[in-house]
């Protein structure tokens, strides 16, 4: 029988409590996400948006269920991987502590995983990684272009200077009366509208790989606000389409430019906003047109949001590189890949 290395992975950086069992970093044996469990029937109650105590209530059930679904016991596990940042400190600590307990009790190595590396590795379930590689990581808390000269090396070449793309979706969603998280609804509305408002494309032409979505957010809010004052009702589908077009234009253009400057073998699209159909379609189109020589892996829709399977995939690579933490591992809420100064 072929050698198999099983990683038990924990992810509690934000709203989701998740535990997974991953084989050799490429095969998901289980991936339990608390907000997606049939929580109402099974446990009664919903996981509120933010509160570490709820992670505490859920984490052991997630561990049990993930081992059960994978059909394995602690004795089969080779190592424990856990997100130690970035994220909410109270939430992170629950996962870190749970992972420590399991690692200590079962004499297993403890692997600290960067949440953003985790997002990137969601795409590993689609295909093999090739280097050098570029990744566009877009989520509620992050918007980054990450260059990887080789496996296990990450350099930020561009990032948002204010709001993350997903956050901009949530904030304009609020103005339109869409519940958090708003991305999915706005994406659906956008498909039914047209870019009639021509919102600004911030920093699109600037000679760097940074992003800014704060100005777009303000322009959007002003437009709605001014219409309200005139007693005018704007078409929500066109508003959504115009907003999304601006976001997607900037993300796609900057990514194409980064690929001009950094010849890579592969582009990865990952993070919560990677589930956006407008963005996925646009990158498919632009890559075929401008960089047909570069392969692209888009994180599977089911793994774009926070989940432990992606942490297991990233953790497996970290494990092979010998990243081990001691029992003094702490949460690092502001953890970041290093920033590369680029011209």
């Amino acid at each position: 029988m072929a050698e198999r290395t099983l990683i038990l992975a924990f992810e509690t950086s934000c709203d989701e409590t998740s535990v997974a069992v991953v084989e050799n970093g490429t095969k998901i044996l289980s991936n339990v996400v608390a907000t997606q469990i049939d929580s109402h029937q099974r446990f009664g109650g919903v996981v509120p948006e933010v509160a570490s105590r709820h992670h505490i209530e859920w984490i052991t059930r997630c561990v049990d269920q993930s081992l059960e679904e994978a059909g394995v016991g602690y004795g089969d596990i080779a190592a424990v991987a856990v997100t130690y940042g970035p994220g909410l400190v109270g939430s992170l600590l629950v996962g870190v502590t749970a992972a420590k307990v399991v690692a200590w009790a079962h004499h297993l190595p403890l692997i600290p995983v960067n949440h953003m590396a985790g997002h990137l590795y969601a795409a590993r379930y689609v295909g093999e990684f090739m280097y050098p590689q570029m990744a566009l990581l877009v989520s509620g808390g992050h918007t980054e272009l990450v260059y990887m000269p080789k496996e296990h090396e990450y350099e930020i070449i561009g990032e948002t200077r204010d709001d993350a793309a997903g956050e901009a979706y949530d904030k304009i969603g609020r103005v339109l009366g869409v519940n958090y998280p708003a991305g999915k609804t706005i994406d659906e509305w956008a498909a039914q509208g047209h870019d009639t408002f021509h919102f600004p494309r911030a920093m699109e032409k600037e000679a760097n790989y940074d992003f800014s979505f704060s100005g777009l957010k303000s322009a959007f809010i002003n437009t709605v606000h001014n219409a309200d004052q005139r007693g005018e009702q704007l078409n929500k589908y066109d508003l959504a389409a115009s907003f999304q077009q601006s976001v997607v234009d900037v993300l796609a253009e900057k990514t194409m430019r980064a690929l001009d400057r950094y010849p890579v073998k592969q582009l990865i699209l990952a993070g919560g906003v990677a589930a956006n159909h407008g963005l996925r379609t646009r990158l498919d189109h632009d890559m075929a047109k401008y960089h047909p020589e570069v392969g692209m892996l888009q994180a599977p829709l089911k793994l774009c949001g926070d989940n432990a399977a992606m942490i297991g995939a990233a953790g497996y690579v970290d494990y092979q590189h010998g990243d081990h933490a001691g029992m003094d591992l702490n949460a690092v809420p502001g953890l970041m890949f290093k920033r590369m100064e680029v011209k």
């Binding site: 934000c14 948006e49 509160a51 970035p86 109270g90 948002t160 956050e167 001014n226 502001g334």
Partner: protein, 152 residues
């Protein structure tokens, strides 16, 4: 209440910087106003006044961002996501009572956790897109004096 009309983003940053230079450990500022009213922009200026070299990014998603490399640490918080509760679990009072400066956006969701002395700044948008009106509401003598000194 003292008011100040700011006609540009740069003016908002400059005022933030002037206030930032006057702050001491344990100071708490509360910023409120609509989305896009300039709260994060103001905080960028404030960070400059604290000699913080880092990029100040929106804290909405992570609720708290910490900046340790300035004259004083800056704790930038956004309670926007705490509308439905959860503030009491975050240990905010430890930040307010610390060696650094705390800036809180959307503080109405964490009102119970605020200390007695703080400076509230209300951001108002105007019909002119670039112009903002800031209203200063100091609580306690330290902040009353600070507002008199800085907001001419």
């Amino acid at each position: 209440m003292k008011k100040k009309t700011l006609s540009s983003r740069d003016a908002t940053i400059a005022l933030g910087e002037r206030i930032g230079r006057q702050l001491v450990a344990g100071d708490v500022l509360v910023l409120d106003g609509d989305l896009g009213a300039g709260k994060t922009t103001f905080t960028k200026g404030l960070a400059k006044g604290l000699d913080i070299p880092d990029l100040i990014k929106s804290p909405t998603f992570t609720i708290i961002r910490e900046y340790q490399d300035g004259r004083l640490p800056l704790y930038h918080m956004d309670a926007y996501r705490l509308e439905s509760g959860g503030a009491e679990d975050l240990g905010l009072e430890e930040y307010f009572d610390s060696d650094g400066v705390s800036v809180v956006e959307w503080a109405e969701f964490v009102e119970d956790e605020l200390p007695d002395d703080f400076l509230a700044i209300h951001f108002k948008r105007t019909d002119d897109e670039g112009t903002r009106i800031l209203e200063f509401e100091p609580h306690g003598t330290h902040f009353t004096k600070l507002v008199e000194d800085v907001v001419a």
